[in-house]
Amino acid sequence: MSDRRAYLLMLVSVAVIWLLAVRWSGLPPLTLPSPVKVGEVLWDERSAMLEGTLSTLFTALLGYALANLIALSLAIGSVYIRWLEAFSTPWVVVLKNIPFVALASLLIITMGSSLLPRLIIVVLVCFHPLLANLNQGLKAADRVLIDRMRTLDGSRWEIFRYVLWPSALPYYLAAHEIAFTTSIVGAIVAEWFLSRQGLGHILVQGMTEYRGDRIYAATLISSVLSFGAYWICRATGRHLTRWQRA
């Protein structure tokens, strides 16, 4: 089965299961609205939904950019500054392993519901795969090739550009497939905890006001965003590494 057909089948199945569930589960429309109702909410409240989506995207993208900046600086810095990796590893490991909910709660009580704590949460949830893969990719660089470049009197920059970076790139691209999606999930969770805006906030409101239709609408949007993020990374990644399949 081709990729495309498998996805199509999945989408159709979800719609069918949904319709069947509405029909046979006996759940009230409050908790399980029909697709039509969800469609209506999406349309009727389109400006609120759009605003929420943009707000979530903004947090996710900004946080993701920051996460990349940090991961790239640490990984590339570690190549040239010997102590940097040894110094940063304990921090990275501890931060990665603090239970996320605890950290989020801590951020709320110290910083309130501004943008900064949300960004921090996004960075924390998505920077680790980026860093880990970058480190791995840089370390996988061909030592023999580096030696050959040195005998040609290649500069550090040339060695980075022609050997280290091409070696790290496939690993980095693979990390995006995981981390970009995670950044959107992270943004929504952060809003869920501490925000008056975004898809996360729409979800919280939907829960307190028993608006199943809104929850479904927000869920639908966030799924599309996440999938879109994954798809963009994958397509870009495959384009940049197309030589591997030549």
């Binding site: 061909d142 023999v144 090739l145 030696d147 050959r148 470049m149 040195r150 005998t151 040609l152 009197d153 290649g154 040339e158 022609y162 050997v163 091409p166 790139l169 590494t241 030589w243 591997q244 030549a246």
Partner: protein
């Protein structure tokens, strides 16, 4: 006699205190000369070559390349190296890999990369990525990348060592042709006595534990030395002599 292009004076190398890998190495390679280094595995051939390339420092003694330190010779863009495993950028084509040498050395008087690859029998594969090429082809690209900038010094560490026997034989002949045309000063590490005798002006045999120069045998056979066609009695005799010396050295160090 002109100054040697590569000269090692009383060179010793150890990675751990007390364990000399190489000791008391005196070796001078004249400009345009091709010296083959043979010896048991682990005797320090690669280490010797890496010192000549400036990739390792000798523990004692000195290494001079073109009358300078190896690093300075590299900075003059006069050194080309090829190791046993082809070291190519996997995301660049054969042609781009060879061009990369010129880009990095900024040499404008180098050979034409596509012409060079054509001469190397890779005309059909200029735009192939390394993973699309056989081991023999990759190694040809690797060697092309090592000599496209026409370095005065060529360091080859078992460049044919990873290849199967048949590819290896045809590649030896091919390499002899290439080197006869460009004539760089060459240090060639090999574990094949035939390969050494076909290619070299001198064969240097290293002993082990610690590595010393046990024999230094000039090869006076006329070129080209076609061996797989019809090896001359003279050629076979030379191979026998070198092999005899090598085995005596190996026995003496208990292999």
């Amino acid at each position: 006699m002109t100054d040697p292009a590569v000269r090692l004076k009383q060179v010793s190398k150890r990675f751990k205190a007390g364990v000399d890998i190489l000791t008391g190495i005196d070796l001078a390679v004249a400009p345009g000369e091709l010296v083959a280094l043979v010896g048991a595995s682990g005797c320090g051939k690669t280490t010797l070559l890496r010192m000549a390339a400036g990739l390792e420092e000798p523990s004692e003694g000195s290494v001079e390349v073109l009358g300078r330190s190896p690093a300075q010779a590299c900075a003059l863009r006069q050194v080309g190296v090829a190791f046993q495993r082809a070291a190519l950028v996997p995301s660049r084509t054969a042609l781009e890999n060879v061009q990369l040498t010129l880009a990095i050395t900024r040499r404008t008087d180098g050979l034409d990369p596509s012409q060079l690859l054509r001469d190397f029998g890779l005309g059909e594969h200029l735009h192939a990525y390394p993973h699309q090429l056989s081991g023999g082809m990759q190694q040809r690209v690797n060697i092309a990348a090592a000599l496209v900038h026409q370095p005065q010094i060529l360091l080859l560490d078992e460049p044919l060592g990873a290849l199967d026997e048949i590819t290896r034989e045809s590649m030896t002949e091919w390499l002899a042709g290439v080197l006869a045309r460009t004539r760089p000063t060459t240090l060639l590490v090999t574990h094949s006595v035939e390969e050494a005798v076909v290619l070299a002006d001198r064969v240097v045999i290293l002993s082990r534990y610690p590595g010393r120069i046990a024999h230094d045998i000039p090869i006076h056979l006329p070129r080209p030395r076609d061996i797989w066609g019809k090896p001359s009695a003279e050629f076979q005799e030379t191979v026998r002599t070198v092999r005899g010396h090598l085995h005596a050295v190996l026995r003496a160090t208990g292999i």
